[in-house]
Symmetry: C2
Subunit: 206 residues, 2 copies
DNA sequence: AATAAATTGACCACTTTGGTCAATGATGAT
DNA sequence: ATCATCATTGACCAAAGTGGTCAATTTATT
């Protein structure tokens, strides 16, 4: 199916993936331009349509790719880690790693859920039926909630924690320096996050 | 300049404004389609180009409109209210009122800052030079921070509060029922917000 | 009924679309 | 050096969409 695409060198393959992801995130399936994708990826349109027989196939490939990425993320959750903050920190690190390779892949997953082109809607729905919230629950499975203060609404605490993580990572990604190496940047931001994590832990925990 | 547009009935005017805002938010200036705007607003393209002489004028009008809206919001901040939570609640109420008329207007302000079409970039820059962060600082001016616990990092507390507000309103807007009346919906969500506000107040305050 | 004002959508020249394919370039074996 | 294989290119296509116009029609006002 995608043999010619797999044969590509990793760097080029990544460039194509990210160019396509960016374009679909910004404009949606119908208005995404294969011309722009090819140009942004630094390849000719002929090549793009050699790797993928048409726009729809490319889109479908991306969805499957993004889903396997997110499933791998869920698989790597360390269920033996009972501390919520430590567990989220691990997941954050892995997300950072993914995002250093594919900066927009989580946005892509978010936007395709709202995609409304009839050409691809059915396919998307079929893919997400199975995936929905499966891993999201996993994140909180087996967490030791007795560490939380008794006079606190734990559900609200988790929501605030989530929104804080989201806000923090949004801000961090804006400042991402694409020239520096991932492990360097990763260290910096995980350090910064530590401060927020400690801040909330002090408030939430006994 | 825009006489014919001002003569329109309020409902129609609002429809045009929101259709245009939505289109520009989603696709940016260059790729926004005047055909789509007219169709979405329920008017003919001829009318659209009667109200605004061209796409650029329409875009510029929207920017000015959005800026006056946000300036009015800043003007209405009650500086005599020294409690941060109460002050933010007031602002939230006013934002809700604005958003019930123009659901996407804050997104519009956010996205035009990243607009990179040469046709309009200069205009945008000139508009935002003066506005930047002017009102954002106002929100926190004169707030009584002695109410906060002494062992707390107030800057982080404000950030967490902001991210929580953002997360909450994002979620609330997704569930917005367009059929119900604004005051009804507003009451419901301000009630829900109260719970989050109290939750954080209990943690942050002495 | 007559006049003025507002609205329409077919129409224009031009650009962009997704997709094709003959030609060219690169690679490695002989 | 020759040849055969494979990857890559971009000019090219019909079709669709673009921002914008304007004569003709509908609606409102007198």
């Amino acid at each position: 199916m995608y043999e010619s695409f797999y044969k590509l060198k990793a760097i080029k393959r990544k460039a194509v993936l990210n160019a396509a992801i960016d374009e679909f995130v910004q404009y949606g399936f119908e208005k995404a331009s294969t011309n722009s994708i090819a140009q942004e990826a630094g390849i000719s349109k002929g090549s793009l349509f050699n790797y993928f027989k048409n726009k729809k196939q490319l889109f479908i490939y991306l969805i499957d790719y993004a889903i396997t990425v997110i499933e791998k993320l869920y698989d790597q959750i360390d269920l033996s880690e009972k501390d919520l903050f430590k567990r989220l920190e691990n997941i954050g690190l892995q997300k950072l790693e993914i995002q250093s390779a594919h900066p927009n892949i989580f946005d892509f997953l978010k936007t395709i859920k709202q995609e409304d082109s009839n050409q691809v809607k059915d396919f998307i729905d079929s893919k997400f039926d199975s995936l929905t919230n499966e891993g999201l629950n996993l994140i909180y499975k087996g967490v030791d909630y007795t560490k939380f203060r008794d006079d606190i609404d734990i559900e609200k605490a988790i929501e605030v924690l989530n929104w804080t993580m989201f806000g923090f990572s949004e801000r961090a990604l804006k400042n991402l320096d694409t020239f520096k190496h991932m492990d360097e940047v990763g260290k910096k931001y995980m350090n910064e996050w530590q401060a927020y994590s400690d801040f909330l832990k002090k408030l939430f925990y006994k």
